[in-house]
Amino acid sequence: MSANRQDGPLLRVAGLGRDYGRIVGCREVSFELWPGEVLGIVGESGSGKTTLLKCASAQLEPTAGTVKFDMRARGLTDIWGLSEAERRMLMRTDWGIVHQNPRDGLRLGVSAGANVGERLMAVGARHYGEIRREASHWLGRVEIDTGRMDDLPETFSGGMLQRLQIARNLVTRPRLVFMDEPTSGLDVSVQARLLDLLRGLVADLGVACIVVTHDLGVVRLLAHRLMVMHRGRVVEHGLTDQVLDDPQHAYTQLLVSSILPV
């Protein structure tokens, strides 16, 4: 491992922008993310937060700006300067992507165990017993009964599917996980349990996260820092508690005041 790895940010986004013809997805977004840090991105729908997440996580190519990630062997690297093979490998190992709809992030036709073990097999794991042990361990970490390991995801509840998706991502111990509305679509008690789990995992594993959500309660619980987006731009940026308790920008004030207290 190179010596400078601990010195700098894990992710550096500079001047990031994405247009769709004349429609602005997001504009001039710049920020840094440090190891183990959780960054929340909030805004109403249409604010550009999902576009920003997709661009930062290489799911969408930006039309302006750069995204640099601190790669294990070579330090801060422009991810769009990588070959497609390298980028896809990155997305399967050192990164995690948790989709809003867990069905988009899982293989529904294979068992839970196979879903969790896939990333290991993709990077060359060839011992069935060990793969199974690892998969079992991670199912336990996300509080899924390991007896369900050989069941197909179609038999799982929404909350279980989301936790399965998380396990599938964590098995390669990524240093950065992108989450898009991780709790939407789940009922309130299930949400609370999931958030608790996420908070614990993130702290234990020291993994950095970028969480996009419209739900201020989620960021209050999970995020160290917060970015507020409105019409494609970042209008406020700071420590979560500070931004939520003392919003400076008019839009943030509106957002905060219209939400029932958690």
Partner: protein, 297 residues
């Protein structure tokens, strides 16, 4: 249909295809040999036999066939099955080449679903008929996506399928068309040969060519190439076995066909490779159902 003096059909080029088409196919074959296991697209032609019935193998054979070649055609290991007969006849009619049932005499062997038991030599070419060339097809129906997976060597998903077999059945359940890794790089389907035959592809002295006419792909394994069947370290690849010998020739090492011989359901197991079995019998070997004094031949 009128025939010329050498028995060939009048009005058709040698081996049916025009020379330009043969050149196009040979170019594809050369590319395939240069990149072992990689599927090369080619402009497959409509042939007088239906797609799905061996047109890929036929086009490859037609493109490499010369007047001095000796051709053997087998299906399910036998020379006498209807489709093997039909294809052999096609080449007799359109090329006038010598044909044989003896593996040792053939220079080109075209096969469906089996590899000959008799070890092939450097002077031979084995042409396989392939229905579905793409090993990732069952997991990923999109051609665009599978091409990308091959280009980026993203094969983890194939092991997911094998993992799933073990989780559900306690063992890898793939019994034929068993996926292999060629020369340490490309994932390939060996065509629906039983996994029993997979070891024969590894380090084979003969050139192995694979033709898929309907799917329009050609691929190849050059002589003496490493062909490794996929498995797990703790669930290594293994082949099927029978706890009995061939009823006719007594071989305990060949792939056996199971035949139901009477209304009570009595079974007889016989070598699938008819030439191999016949050679052994000619050399004096006898199986339990073929004791000398009962020989009806």
């Amino acid at each position: 249909m009128t025939t010329a003096d050498d028995g060939r059909l009048a009005g058709y080029n040698f081996a049916y295809l025009d020379e330009q088409t043969k050149r196009m196919i040979r170019r594809a074959v050369l590319k395939a040999v240069a990149i072992p296991g990689h599927q090369v697209p080619f402009g497959s032609r409509e042939m007088p036999l239906p797609y799905g019935w061996g047109t890929g193998g036929i086009q490859v054979t037609a493109s490499i066939l010369g007047p001095r070649d000796v051709l053997k055609v087998i299906d399910q290991g036998a020379d006498d099955t209807t489709n093997a007969v039909s294809i052999r006849r096609f080449f007799a009619l359109t090329a006038g080449v010598a044909t044989t049932e003896k593996t040792t005499e053939a220079t080109i062997v075209q096969t469906r679903h089996r590899v000959p038991e008799t070890r092939l030599t450097e002077r031979q070419i084995l042409v396989y008929q392939v229905p579905i060339p793409e090993p990732l097809r069952w997991l990923e129906p999109s051609e665009v996506e599978t091409r990308k997976m091959h280009a980026l060597a993203e094969y983890g998903v194939m092991h997911v399928r094998l993992y799933e077999d073990i989780a559900q059945h306690g063992r890898i359940a793939q019994t034929y068309d068993y996926p292999v890794e060629v020369a340490g790089r490309y994932l390939m389907r060996p065509s629906p040969v039983p996994k029993f035959d997979n070891p024969k592809l590894d380090n084979c002295p003969a050139l192995q060519l694979f033709g898929a006419g309907r799917e329009k792909r050609i691929y190849a394994v050059p002589p003496y190439t490493r062909v490794k069947s996929l498995d797990f370290d703790d669930h290594p690849f293994s082949v099927e076995g029978w706890d009995r010998a061939c009823g006719l020739c007594g071989s305990t090492e060949s792939y056996l066909d199971e035949m139901i011989v009477d209304d009570e359901g009595r079974r007889l197991f016989v070598c699938s490779d008819t030439d191999y079995c016949g050679q052994r019998q000619a050399a004096g070997h006898r199986g339990p159902a073929n004791a000398p004094k009962e020989a009806a031949e």
